[in-house]
Structure formats: structure tokens, C-alpha cells
Symmetry: C2
């Protein structure tokens, strides 16, 4: 290797960091030929490295016989150049380029490697199919979009670690090879060769280990850690994803929320120059469900669900009156400017809400010049119509939609409608953010199929102080379980749940009552949660924690369309890596060692 290159390795300059201040300096750069134009005797190459682009001028009169190399340069060739940094002539200044006022006039050039023509353009403005971006991920990394997201990701997790370290949190690695849990979402299993017919499971979260660490007195734990879930993959799911996992001892919910607000404010400011000042707004779960039909409401826009049961319960419109009479509700949503929605569109919306949310119908009224009007308005008194308009705040040009059914169906279906129509009628501004805690979750949720109570969060979640009364006796609990609130909290950003957690139970009595409410007897509890239950008996401190989806947060903050946009090497929705072509078949010998046989499909 030539001396000037070895010298350059030691003290290279970075393209994106060159500036007019270096005028006249001799610099050595390394990178890729991003664009080039041959003007006969002089060749201009935009040299690109990780930090940016610098124009390199290759002149025959300077390079001499080395100019032959310059003539061979093609797109994405890897080159080393040495030269003098100059200001450009006024007419060749490129104001769109960060280094558009300067260029490097080369006196040395070497082609370090050639490149085949890439299967797609690396230009930032080109729209490339995701399939190609995943298959040729090494080329996608050379495009600003993915590269900048990876750099932001690094900055983001680095800033998190810095902050948490300063707050006495200790990062501790928990195992990837774990025990399979009998229930819950699906585990990935890993057969053990040393222990045939036995399996490890990849962790869905380090929940039990972090509670163990609290029992162990580590007091403040965090980890940025891979978790795994073998589910059918939706747009925003990956078989492996990254969590910020945290657990604290000797805290109440207030300290945890305050700590997280401190973390977020600092990191969002440092990494994204955004102000997220605490305390964040808080909304009880019940309010979120009633007013937004969701436990993760997007609060960047309005279109609240308004209960109009009282107004319509005595109307002649049997669909409304009957729903209320049967113990259900009637709610309305006003879509600003929504009167342009066509009858055909409403039919499609109705079919969708019926299919996905079991909503029997979708009544609607336009707000015209004379107030609310529709085929059904004659069933209501003018006073009732005027009360509805005023309750939902509609004005001329708006559309009001109604749901009339069991409370749950109304909330879910109108909540979904609200979200869908916001894309067209109340679209939040690009780059706007709204963050909020959802609190006061119910402890239990009635499972109609198994006819028993399920945990809404998980069975170690502590009841709220105001609900402790309910746990004072077995009878009271059986009657009132549905009213018990939990010390659980979710953090919601722009309608996406980015994190959630709870205070855990550390009292054996309360734990036993919660188990019995869930229909889990002592035997079953031992089998399912054995070593954690045992650990709780050896001096467990009051503790609680939270976990965040790093991929989701980054997707929202960098404007990605899916979490695949912020993961270096993601899988497709079928769980396949298009670049390495995994998963794949393995050799019979390997299966034999694992004492496994395939059931051929």
C-alpha cells in the first residue's frame, strides 16, 4: 500500500466535516464515488463517506498518468484521494450542498475497489421497493434515510444510557436462554443438545429477572435488551424487538412517572431538539376509553366521542332508544368538514366497522345550513337535534356519526372511525407530538369465554391505594373485582403505546388474593411462577418498573412508516430475512443431535 494512503489511514479527513476553514490544507479522504462527470481532461467526483459528500476535482494536468485511474471510476467505486482543499469559483457554488462552496483538487488517487452497478439508485429522492431495500441492505445503508436513522438510533440509546447512569441505574444483562412459560403470547423455543427433549425459550421480556434483581437489592436496574415474540407479524411487529427495560425499588408510581419524564425530556432534547417538559398530562383509562374509544388515544386532534344517550333515549328512533333501554349507550363523533363524505364511503365505513368491530350500523347526520339533517332526523325533536349539535360542537359542513350498542362496541368502533377519519379531516401537523400517561387501569378484565377474571396487566401488578379496600376480604373482592384499579401506567405518544409498567405486589397476602381472583390456586401458582414466588418471601422490597419499545419510539421520532425502517436487519411480515435468506432448512445430522424429527409440511 502506498505511503500517502497509510498516512491517510492515520489522519483522514471526513467529507461531511470539511469546511472553508481548511482552505489550502492537504487532506486525504476515503469513500465512494457517489456521482461523477467527465468533462474531458477533468473529472468531477462527489466522494461520499458516512458523514457526507465532498466534490473532488481530478485534473489530467495534475494527476499525470494517474489520470487513467480517474477515467475508470464508476458509480460506487471505492477510492482514496489526496489533494488540496479550495474554495469553488462563484459560478460553481452549490447552495444545496453542505460542502457546496468547497472542493478538493486531487494530486493522488487510487481505486481501492470496484463495484458492480447497484440494482437501484442510491439517490435520496428515489422511491425504492422495500423488498429491494431489505435484500440489498448493504446498499440501502449507503442511502441517507437508513443511514441517518441508524445514526439517530445510536445517539438515542447512548443518550438514554448516559442519563440513567447519572441517575444511579445499573445496566444488568439477563439471559436470552430462558425458561418457557406455560401461557401468554408465543415463545420461541430453543432445543437443548446437552439436555435432550428439553427446551429453552427466548424471553418475551425480562420481567421475572428484573423483579429477582429487586429482591436481590440492586434497587435501580435498566437494560436495553432484545425481546422475542413468535406472533403472526403485523406492520409494527417484529419477531425480535428492542426494549428499554427498567425496575426500581422503594418507589411509588409518582417517582417512576417523574423519573421517566426526566429521562424523556432530556433525551428528546439532546437527540431530537424537542421540548417534552414534565409533568406529562395524565388521563385515566376510563376517560380514554369513553372519550377516545382507545387505551392509547391519539391526542393530537379532537373528534371526541360524546355520550348522547340522555338526549336520544326517548326519541322515536328505535335503534337509539332501544340501545339505551338495553343498557347500552349512544355516542356521537363530529367530523369537521365531514359533510363531503359520500354515501358510498359511508357504506364502506359501515361494512368495515361491522366486520372488524361488530358495530351493527353507523348512523350519521350532516350539519347543513339548517342544522343537523339526515333521513333519520325526523325521528328527533328539533330540541334534541340542537342539543346533539351543541354536545358534539358541530357546525355547518360537519358530519356527525353515531354508534348505538353495548358500551364496549360503541367505544371501540367510534374510536377506530375517529382515527381513520383524522387522516383526512383533522390530520395532525407533520412533526407534531403529544405525549400522555394513561393511568388507573382496571386490575381485572372479565373474560367472557373462560367466564373468569383475567389480569389486564400481569398478575404481579399492585392494586391502587384507593382500591385496597376491595382486597380486604375474599367476598368483597369476588363482588367488586371489576372496580379494582391497578397501579399500572402506559405512556402514549401520538396514539402509539410506547411503554407501560406497574408497581408490583410485594405483600404475600395481596398476592394470594389476586391469584385466587384469577382462579389460580397455590399449586398452579407454584408451577407457573415458582422461583419468583419463593424469592418474594426472602425480603422483597416495594418495587415497580416499566418497559419501552425502542423501535416504536424511533419510528415515531424519525418519521418511519414501520419499525422495519429503524432496525438494521429486520425480518419481513413472514419472519424472513431477505438478505441472508433465513430461516432455512438444516441438516438431518443437526436434528438428530437435538433428538428432533420434523413433521413434514
Amino acid at each position: 500500500m502506498e505511503d500517502w494512503i497509510l498516512e491517510g489511514y492515520k489522519s483522514r479527513a471526513w467529507a461531511g466535516e470539511t469546511s472553508e476553514a481548511q482552505e489550502g490544507k492537504t487532506l486525504t479522504l476515503f469513500g465512494w464515488s457517489f456521482r461523477f462527470r467527465d468533462q474531458g481532461g477533468v473529472i468531477f467526483v462527489d466522494l461520499r463517506d458516512r458523514t457526507g459528500i465532498l466534490q473532488v476535482v481530478l485534473r489530467k494536468e495534475i494527476l499525470g498518468e494517474n489520470f487513467a485511474a480517474a477515467e475508470k471510476i464508476r458509480s460506487e467505486y471505492v477510492i482514496a484521494v489526496r489533494g488540496t482543499l479550495r474554495k469553488r469559483d462563484a459560478e460553481s457554488i452549490n447552495p444545496k450542498m453542505k460542502t457546496g462552496t468547497i472542493e478538493l483538487v486531487a494530486d493522488q488517487l487510487i481505486i481501492l475497489n470496484q463495484a458492480k452497478t447497484p440494482p437501484f439508485s442510491l439517490d435520496e429522492f428515489e422511491e425504492i421497493s422495500e423488498e429491494n431495500r431489505l435484500k440489498y441492505r448493504y446498499l440501502d445503508f449507503r442511502r441517507d434515510e437508513l443511514k441517518n436513522r441508524m445514526l439517530k438510533r445510536h445517539e438515542f440509546v447512548f443518550a438514554i444510557r448516559n442519563y440513567l447512569n447519572s441517575r444511579k441505574f445499573v445496566e444488568i444483562e439477563t439471559p436470552i436462554l430462558n425458561k418457557s412459560t406455560p401461557e401468554g403470547a408465543r415463545d420461541f423455543l430453543v432445543p437443548s443438545r446437552l439436555n435432550p427433549n428439553s427446551f429453552y425459550a427466548l424471553p418475551q421480556s425480562p420481567q421475572i429477572f428484573k423483579q429477582i434483581l429487586m429482591v436481590g437489592g440492586m434497587e435501580r436496574y435498566f437494560q436495553i435488551v432484545k425481546c422475542f415474540r413468535d406472533e403472526d407479524l403485523r406492520a409494527d411487529r417484529q419477531p425480535e424487538f428492542t426494549q428499554l427495560d427498567m425496575e426500581f425499588s422503594f418507589v411509588s408510581q409518582e417517582e417512576i412517572l417523574a423519573e421517566i419524564e426526566g429521562l424523556f425530556s432530556q433525551v428528546m432534547k439532546d437527540v431530537f431538539s424537542l421540548e417534552f417538559k414534565g409533568p406529562f398530562s395524565r388521563m385515566p383509562y376510563k376517560q380514554a376509553m369513553e372519550e377516545y374509544g382507545s387505551d392509547k388515544p391519539d391526542l393530537r386532534f379532537g373528534m371526541k366521542l360524546v355520550d348522547v344517550s340522555e338526549i336520544v333515549k326517548n326519541s322515536d328512533f328505535q335503534v337509539f332508544a332501544g340501545a339505551v333501554a338495553n343498557g347500552g349507550v349512544v355516542k356521537a363523533v363530529c367530523v369537521p368538514g365531514g359533510s363531503v363524505i359520500s354515501r358510498k364511503e359511508i357504506e364502506d365505513l359501515t361494512a368495515w366497522l361491522n366486520r372488524d368491530y361488530k358495530a351493527k350500523g353507523l348512523a350519521y347526520m350532516k350539519h347543513g345550513a339548517e342544522g343537523l339533517e339526515s333521513t333519520i332526523t325526523k325521528r328527533f325533536t328539533p330540541e334534541a337535534l340542537s342539543k346533539i349539535a351543541s354536545a358534539v360542537g358541530s357546525k355547518e359542513g360537519d358530519m356527525v356519526f353515531f354508534g348505538a350498542d353495548e358500551r364496549e362496541i360503541v367505544n371501540h368502533s367510534l374510536g377506530a372511525l375517529r382515527l381513520k377519519l383524522s387522516e383526512r379531516f383533522d390530520k395532525p401537523a407533520e412533526g407534531s407530538f403529544h405525549i400522555s400517561w394513561i393511568v388507573d387501569f382496571p386490575m381485572f378484565e372479565w373474560n367472557k369465554d373462560s367466564k373468569r377474571w383475567d389480569s389486564l396487566h400481569h398478575p404481579f401488578t399492585s392494586p391502587g391505594d384507593s382500591s385496597l379496600e376491595i382486597f380486604s376480604s375474599e367476598e368483597r373482592l369476588q363482588k367488586d373485582a371489576g372496580n379494582a384499579l391497578a397501579k399500572a401506567y402506559d405512556l402514549v405518544l401520538n396514539g402509539v403505546e410506547i411503554g407501560g409498567g406497574s408497581i408490583r405486589i410485594h405483600s404475600k397476602d395481596v398476592q394470594t388474593r389476586v391469584f385466587s381472583t384469577l382462579g389460580i390456586g397455590p399449586e398452579e401458582a407454584k408451577e407457573k411462577f415458582g422461583f419468583l414466588l419463593e424469592a418474594l418471601e426472602y425480603g422483597a422490597p416495594p418495587h415497580g418498573g416499566i418497559a419501552f419499545g425502542i423501535d416504536r419510539i424511533l419510528m415515531l421520532m424519525t418519521g418511519g412508516k414501520s419499525i422495519r425502517d429503524v432496525i438494521a436487519f429486520p425480518k419481513t411480515q413472514k419472519g424472513v430475512c431477505l438478505m441472508s435468506e433465513c430461516p432455512s432448512e438444516v441438516e438431518e445430522k443437526q436434528l438428530q443431535e437435538l433428538k428432533l424429527r420434523l413433521i413434514k409440511v
Copy 2:
């Protein structure tokens, strides 16, 4: 919860951080009752939290009816106390305790949780069986030894990230669900439910992904990442372990070594207050093998292997003369003070070296008052004996051992003997460290079984500049492959290989020649390394990297006996977690979903 506790949650004091400067202040502390003594009317409790211990004085006259709670306190009860910090009376000062001059006189006390009596003492001086420490890991965490190692581990990886971030390295997460490789050490397999009969593999290292990132122009990558190997577990192996993985573009070996020296010096200074100043010493692989019989020599002590073939080749001792005549060597090691080794011990050593290293025998001579003496010394001239003594540097009271065999057997067996006897005769001082690079590894190693060349490192390792000549033609390479040196390097600390890496091949021509030397044709290369080979054609920069075993480094630096001592939740040598009892059987339903059947054992 009482107000003073909620207040305390917001502004607790930490036991180990209290000091005389806080005298007279009201403090609230939380923690565990580590030791207690009841003196009737006054109870002393050593309250322990993560930071240390503070003595709490519980007086009946102050606590009133709350004193009843104090009387219930037992070992490892979880307590909250509020009180006033006081200097102790002169006679109760404990100079062995960091907070031995102060105590907290409590005015509030609550037992937050009870604890069963731990199955072992948490005292730092107690020797606990590893089995118990693993099973009750949550109690082991409360002991200083494990707790401090975990805190150091956090500090260590935090310092690494800080340094690398300042040096433009970007942390990028590579997948845990990977493609299974057809060869190499054993993969853990993960069956895919979405793609039945197909498997992911857990990564043995992110090698291919990090090279892909270099092709992608990320230039400086690192990751602190879990890697996996399904091997029979030795003392210093775990099925999952943590690596610091790095890769750089546009560098030669010199820049990589210098960068790592900078990293080590800084981190060792920050975390362990130790000076590891660069440049580190370097030793060629050949010298390490010849003089220490190991590619990871422990250079904290002497006892070098000395080649005495020339001295003994004409002796009457047929074992020596014959070995040399057959193309082998005779080497000697002087053990200082080793003349106390008994004949019985030597017999045991001989049997061990025969069993594990195929050494046919172990000749020896004591250095007595008259020089070297032994049953065999009469076969040597006095001049020869004196030359041997002077070559190995023996003096009265030493023992000289000999190996006479093929070079490889002699090096390996005497290297092992050297290590074993150093524990007794040339033991390095506690807390002494020696770090060294091993460089100039051979590219290839002749495999006697398959009768072909294997890569010593991996097939993407670049030849050294001085060996490029050998790769100039196919014929030359076939003849001279054994002499080709690689741009590969290992970092050795106290006889443990803590890291290794290489410059990678980025030229297609050299890569093709290396493959053909290894007997890998184009078809096989494509099947094994397909997407990486394809990537290398799209503009791969010169690049290289290195990976470090975080667990091993921490074990050495914190005086652990095995890497289990620095891993929060390790597996046993059978790959079992004694706390969670994994791996375990799974339900038939799960196997059916994965389209798997067990071969019962």
C-alpha cells in the same frame, strides 16, 4: 402508606453515602436488616442498601409504641427508617466500616416486608457453595462479591461505550435470529412457526453482519452483544456470552491495534485505576508457540521453553538424539525451586501429559550442588550438561524438565507443564497484569485428517503484506501456503485470549485464491457465504475488526474464578439455570405448532 415514607421515596438517603458532614440532618433510608442486636430498650440494626451499610439506633424512649415493630425485625427484613444522623461515641466507633463513625437515631420505623431466614449467611467472608449461590441468586446479589462485580460490569461497558462514541463508532444491533451456517462450532437452532421445517440459528458472532455494515458504508461499527455456542461447557464457557464486537473501514492493522490500545488504556484507568499504556508489546505467533508452547502465553512469569536440540542431538540418550534425528526437537523448561517435586508427582505429571498431550515421556534433571543430576545425566557429557544448565538458566534447587518429540507435541506439552507448575513455583503476584498482542498468525493450518488446509482464523482473513508474494500464483500458493502469514491478531491478558480479529480480504482475486487453497470451489463458496460474497462485489472498502470477550476480561479484572462469577444469571456446565430450572419440557401443543416430534431419550 405514611407520609414520611412517601416523602422519603422522593429524597431518600443512601446508607453507603452518608457521612459526618450530614450530622444533625433528618434522613430517611430504606434497605435490609443486615445485622441486628437487641440490648433491651435499644436495638441496633445495620441497615444495608446497594451502596453500603449504616448503623440505625432504635430506642424505645424515642419510638414509643413503634418500638414493637423494632422488636420484630429479623435478618433481611425490609425496613424504612427516618431519623437524625449523629456521630457515634468514641467507644462505639467501628474503624472497619466506611460509616463506622456515624449512626442514625431513628424516630420513625416501618417494616415494609418480612423475610424467611436465608439458606446461607450473606456475610462476605462466608464460603458458599456455587450451587446454592446460583439457585438463590437473589440472595447472592445481596452479598458484596457478586453485587460489586455487577456494578463494575456496568461501569466497564458504560466506559467502553463512552470511549467508542467519542471515537465516531456507532452501535448497531444485529439480529439474534440468524441463518444457520453449515460448518463451524455448533449453532443453537430456533424452529420457526411461521415457516415450518425451517430454523433460525442464534449467532456465534455478528461477523457477516458487521462486514455487511462496512460494505454499507457505516465505517466504524461496534456492538456489545450476546453470542451463542452450543458446545460442551468448560469452566470458562457459557452457552451465551457477551462480546464487544467492532469493525472499521479504511484502516490497516496498525490503526486497529492503536485504537484498541487507546480504548483499553482509558477504560482500565477509569474503571480499575490501572495503567495499561500503549503501545502494548507484540509477539509473533511463532515465538509464542516456540517459547511458551501456547498462542496465548501468560507473560507474567518466565519458565520459557528452550530448544536444546543442538546440545543433545549427539548424546547417548537415545530418546533425545532419536527425536532430533527424526526431525523433532528437544526442549527444556527450568522450574525455579522445582527440585522439591517428588518422583510420585513427576509420575502423575507424566501420565497427564501423555493422556492430554500425547507426550511419550517427561525427562527431568535436578540442579543440585554439582549441577544437573538425574538417572539420565550419565548419558551426557559434562559440557553438554553445563550447556543445558546455562541455556535454561538453572541454578541449585531448580528442576529442568524435557520434552523430546515432534515439535508440536513438545510445545503443547511443555507449555501445559509450564502453566501448571507456575501455580506453585513461579506464581504471578495477585493483581499483576500483562497484556500483549500476538501477531503474524499463519493463514493456514494443515489438517492431517482431511489432508487439506484449514483457515486458522476464518476464510475472509487477509494475508499479510509480506506474504502477498505467495498469493501471486496458484502454484506458488499450493507449495508455500504453510508459510503465508495473516493480518490477524489476538489480545492476550494473563494467559487468556481476551480478543482477536483480522483485516478482511476485500479483493475478489485474493478471496478466490484463498478459497481454492482451502479446497472451496465457487459453488460451495456461494452456498456457504453467498450474500457476503455478493456484497463484496458492490464496492467493499478495505476493512477489519476485532471482538472481545467481555465476560473473560471482567473475570480477570475482578479476580473471578470463572466467567459465572461476572454473569448475573449464568448456566451451569450442563447448560442449566438452577434458579429458573431451564431448559425444561414443553407442552405437546407447542411442538405440534412447530411441526416437531421428539426422539425420546
